[in-house]
Each structure stands twice: as C-alpha cells, then as structure tokens.
Amino acid sequence: MKILKLILLVLISGLFIVKASGQENARHIMQKSKENGKFKGLETVSTLKIIDKKGRERIRRTYMASKSYDNENLDKRIIIFLSPSDVKGTGMLVYDYDHKADDMWIYLPALRKTRRIVSSEKGKSFMGSEFSNADMSAINPDDFTFKILGREKVNETDCWKIECIPSNDEIASDLGYSKEILFVAQKDYILRKAIYFDLDEEVLKTLISQKVKMIDIAEKKFLATELIMENHQNGRKSEIIMEEIEVNKDLPDDIFTTAYMERQ
C-alpha cells in the first residue's frame, strides 16, 4: 500500500513538474525573444502605412532610436515623426522598465511643450494605425502567463505556438486583449505571427512579420523589418516598413532626453 502511495505521489509530482516545466519553457522563450529585441543602440527610419477598408492610404514616416541599459533593466526609446506635415516634429520618449511602469513623454509642436503621459494607456492606437502602443514594444513576461500550444510553420519557418494570457484583468484592460497567440521562430526567437483576441475573446487582429533580417552579425541578432497588422473587425490594415537601420551605434545618452525631442 505504501509503495502504491509512493508511486502515486511520484506520478502526481511528475505531472506537476512537467506542467511547471512547460510553463517555464514558454516563459523562457518569451524572455529570450524580448532580450533578442534589445540592442545596445538601434536607429531606424520607417514608413507607417495606414490602409482603410476601401484601400485608401495615409502614410507617416518616423525616426526611432533605442538604447538598452542592461544594468538598469531599462530600454530608452525615442520616436519622432518626420511626415506628414501636420504631425511633423511630434515626438515620443519612452523609458521602458522591466519591472515597473514606464515613463512616457510626448512633445506636441502645436503646444511647444513636452507632457508626461500615463503609461497605462498601452491599448491605444499608435498614430491612428492598427498597431497599439503596446504592440510597438516586446511584451513584458511578468505581465502574462504562457503556455506552449505546439509547433507550427509560419512562412516555412518552424515556430513555437505560445498562448499568452494577461496575468490579471487590469493588464488585459490596459492592453485591450484577453489573449494573444504568438508564433516565435525557433531559429532566431523573432515573432513571426501573432493573433490578438479582444476582451470578448473574439479574434481582433493578426500580425505578420513579412521580412526578417539579420542586422547584427556579431551577435547574430535579427529584426522584423516589415510588419503587417490586419484588423479583422474593421477591415483596416497597417504596415511598418523599416527602410534605414543602424545597429550597435554608440548613441549618446543625450538623444533620449526631452530636450533633444524639443530641439527637433
């Protein structure tokens, strides 16, 4: 009898370990995916195309610079709009912390002022596109529970299929998502596809990484340089195409300041 109890205990513990290990693997993949997206210094000039359901396009060009401060678990990022004329000069500065709420500032040329904004509005649309503010940065593993659902090919690339569920209702509400299904490439940990579900658990949007490039040969780091986000509920689509990319440049810290944003 004792032996039977012992076998049962081992089996139950084993199941628990397997489950915990599955969770840990998914989390590990997402953590690695996030770390892979960090660069000592990254600059891009991109085009954001916003396409409505009738196919009409609005085009925005942006400059973005980011820098990782590993010892502080901090990514600093600045985005400045280059066109069209009515948003030109608008800037956004983000201090993205790993374990606390981000610091965010926005500079509006019409007001000639930099304003600190609340970072919890991550679900808001990024400049009227189908990308939300949250979609513009890697997900924070602390905000989700993960589960590997299996393996699938996306555009002939082997990917892990990972379910991400916000840890609590507040995070879900901030993001505007009840669930995300992410397809992370096994070879480079780059997100190849994502399916986002709204708070009613209906499919909301699909993200496809159209083009992935190795941009840091020394560290073998990749970056999705063409992204398409399709909204299934309103028929709209947005594309981000990174036209100019520079990595590992020793970007001066002064770039990531409100003063620099105002100067442009």
């Binding site: 891009t44 400059y63 610079a65 030109k88 019409a110 600190r116 520079e246 100067r263």
Partner: protein, 441 residues
C-alpha cells in the same frame, strides 16, 4: 595654447558623437551637407457673432493666412529656423494686412550646450492652458484663431540650455528689449474726454533688459522645474498719461499702457499616480518695490494651478483648479473728489486685467477631448469657470483631417462675465462661431 585647444577638441568630439540617423538622412541633403526643409501652411479663417446690440449678426474676423517656414540643419552642430506669416483680411471692423517675421533664430550645439539667438518663442510651464511660470514670450490675446499657439509672439532672446545630465538641465535667457503682450484694452469703453493710447515702454538701454533662469529635472515618475524671472512684466498696466490740449482749449485725458518691473519665482511638476497624471504650477510674483503707489503695477501675488488628467479609452480629460492669492490686498474706495474718479476706474481696470479683484480667487478648468474615426476626427471642449468673479468661457470645437495635411475645424467661443469683469468686456467682440480650413505642407 594646448589649454585652449583641449576644450575645443572635447566639444568637437561631443558634437561628432551626437550625429544621428535623424539628422543625416531624413531630409533633403545638398552638396554642402546641409539639410534644408521648407514647410508651412495656408488657411482661411472666419469668425462670426452678434453685433454689440445683439440685434443682428456680423463678421468678427475673416482672413487668409500663409505661413512659410525654413529649417536648415547643420548635422547635429546646430540649426537655423525662420517663420514668416502673411495675414490679410478684416478684423473687429477694420481691414488688416500683416507681414510678421514670427521667428528667426540660429542655434548651436557645443557638447551639452544649446545656444540660440534671435526671434524665438519659448513656452514654460506644465499646466494646461494657464501657465504662471511662462513669462518669456508675450501673447496676443485678441487674435482670432482656433490654434492657441497663434497667440504666441516671437521675442528677441539669447538662450543657453545646458543639459548636464540626461535627466537634468539648466536654462538661462536674456531678453534685451521689452515686448508687451497684446491685451484687449481697446474693448473697454472710455468716458468722453479720455483717450486710450498704446505704449509707454522701456527703451533699448541694457538696464531695461530681462533675464530668466530655469533648472529642470526629469526623475523616474516625477518631473519638476524651478524658475526665476526678473524683468518687465509681459502684461502692462494702464495709467494716466500727459493730457493733450485740443485747439478749442479743452483737455483730452490720455490713458496709456505702462510696463513695470517684477520678479517671478516659479515651480512646476508633473507625475503619475496609477492611471492618473498629476501636474501643478505655482508662481510668486513680486513687483517693483513701491507697487502700492502705482496703479499700473499689480500687487504681489501667488498664482497656483493643480491638475489631474485621465484617459478613458479614446477620451482624455484634464481637470484643473486655478487659484490666486493677492498679497497686501486692499479694497479700492470710491473717491469723494470727482477728479480722482478716473484714477479710481483705471485702478479697477488694472485689477480686472491682473485678475486681482479679490484677495482670494478660485477657478476651475476642464478640457475633454476625444479622437474618433481612427484619429481623423477630434472633438474637444474646453471650459473655465471663475467662481469668485462669476465669469466663464466655453470653447467646443471639432477638427476633421480630410486627408494628411488638410483639415477643417469648426467651433464656438463663448464668454460670459458679470458686470465689471474681463469676460464682460470681451464677450461681445469675442463670442463667435468659427470655421478654419487649413492646408499644411
């Protein structure tokens, strides 16, 4: 000699380090390596309201307006910027034709410094719409435009900013020549025999210049700045000028605007608390010593603003409390001698414009804005209510972006004030519906 070169090499090194993709490639580049960018806008603006007797409708302002900007970047060494505006039309019963060099300045970035000289607009303060610490560039408060930035008037400045840490900076400004704000004095009714004339302002002597300093710091979750201004107040007062003797030997009393010296010490901050943004701004104004004897000089006061903002989906809400405490406040006593009546009414007028009619005054402002139709339609309502003087303003407006760079704005500006208040004076000329069609390039 070596000692001389080391700082130059250090500065040059700093500049070279600061080269970014932004300034290398985003704009047109010519053979000299300069990047020149032209921009601006053209627009038509119309304001219509009621006549002063409220019996019929009239045009308050109609004009065509063109703005041309040019920005030349010298890598990250510096830049030059200029904006010229041309405005032609009709406003407050008169034809207008204006050519304005609104801004024209050059900037140089040696290392962590930013040095600029020329006609510039500087905007200080973290509160929304009302900024007690914003005392550098004057404002045209009577211009009829849906874009609030059009109130800002360029002023000749020498400005040095020193960003000694990534989160901390120091700023010093020298304003060599006084330039006053444009206030709605002309809308006040003057008694018979009294004439309003603009300007008893300081000349170009160096002793008449103004200076301002600001230290700012952006800490995680908390930004603040401390500022100090010493110079001539942007909003001049009115006083009795030298009378004119008319050919029929009668006197014509002149009421003139007059500038005064003051010091303003300010503090502002912004922070976040959960899903709320909090901001505040306070300024202590200390006019020249013998303010009590000069009716055109305001009393010392404390002007303070505390605000809270919150986003709910696509709706942004900013609510603010605005208070003022007037130091050494004394009631004005109606004089028995009729000769002192003009001085009495001018003193009352000054207090009205300086917002110092009461020892304590309390106001609230609210701005609600919402982006709709994928950020192509913006609806905004701004309101301010002064509980003490019983005045209010409400400005609802809708802006639709027809396509990138082309927008249409329509709205209403509505002021109300009890008798002997500023809004009572401006409500008839200002209350209007407005329409703007604007093409930016």
């Amino acid at each position: 000699m070596i000692k001389f070169f080391i700082p130059i090499l250090w500065l040059t090194g700093q500049i070279l380090l600061a080269q970014t993709l932004l300034n290398e490639k985003d704009n047109y580049s010519n053979d000299m390596g300069l990047k020149t960018d032209f921009g601006g806008f053209v627009r038509g603006v119309a304001y219509a309201g009621r006549t002063n007797d409220h019996k019929s409708a009239e045009l308050k302002s109609i004009y065509g307006n063109a703005s041309f900007t040019v920005k030349t970047l010298f890598g990250d060494f510096g830049k030059g910027f200029a904006e010229v505006r041309i405005r032609k039309g009709y406003e407050f019963g008169s034809d207008i034709g204006e050519l304005d060099l609104r801004e024209a300045y050059a900037e140089f970035y040696p290392g962590k410094f930013e040095i600029s000289l020329g006609q510039q607009i500087v905007s200080w303060g973290k509160a929304d719409g009302f900024n007690p610490t914003n005392n550098i560039t004057p404002r045209n408060t009577i211009i009829r435009s849906p874009d609030t930035d059009d109130m800002n008037m360029g002023n000749f400045l020498f400005r040095v900013r020193y960003q000694f840490l990534s989160n901390s900076g120091f700023e010093a400004i020298w304003i060599p020549k006084y330039k006053p704000s444009v206030l709605p004095w002309n809308f006040s009714s003057m008694p018979e025999g009294v004439r309003f004339t603009e300007g008893d302002y300081p000349d170009g002597q160096l002793q008449n210049s103004s200076v301002a300093f600001k230290f700012n710091m952006d800490l995680p979750s908390f930004d603040f700045s401390v500022s100090w201004f010493s110079g001539f107040g942007l909003d001049p007062g009115i006083t009795i000028g030298v009378p004119d003797v008319l050919p029929d030997s009668t006197f014509l009393m002149n009421v003139v605007t007059k500038a005064y010296r003051e010091q303003i010490t300010g503090f502002d901050f912004s922070t976040t608390l959960g899903k709320y943004g909090l901001r505040g701004e306070v300024a202590w104004r200390l006019p020249e010593n013998n303010y009590g004897g000069k009716i055109y000089v305001p009393n010392p006061d404390l002007w303070y603003i505390f605000g809270i903002d919150r986003s709910l989906g696509n709706v942004q809400i900013i609510a603010q409390y605005i208070g003022r405490y007037v130091i050494d406040f004394k009631d004005i006593v109606l004089p028995e001698d009729s000769l002192d009546l003009i001085r009495y009414s001018l003193e009352e007028g000054n207090r009205m414009f300086f917002r110092q009619q009461y020892k304590w005054s309390h106001s609230a402002s609210l701005r609600i804005s919402s982006d709709m139709l994928y950020q192509t339609l913006t609806a905004e309502v701004f309101g301010m209510l002064n509980f003490t003087t019983r005045e209010y303003v409400i400005i609802p407006k809708l802006t639709y972006s027809i396509t990138d760079g082309l927008s249409i704005t329509a709205g209403l500006e509505w002021y109300y004030g009890k008798e002997n208040t500023l809004f009572d004076i401006i409500e008839d000329p200002f209350n209007s519906v407005f329409l703007q069609l604007k093409a930016s390039f």
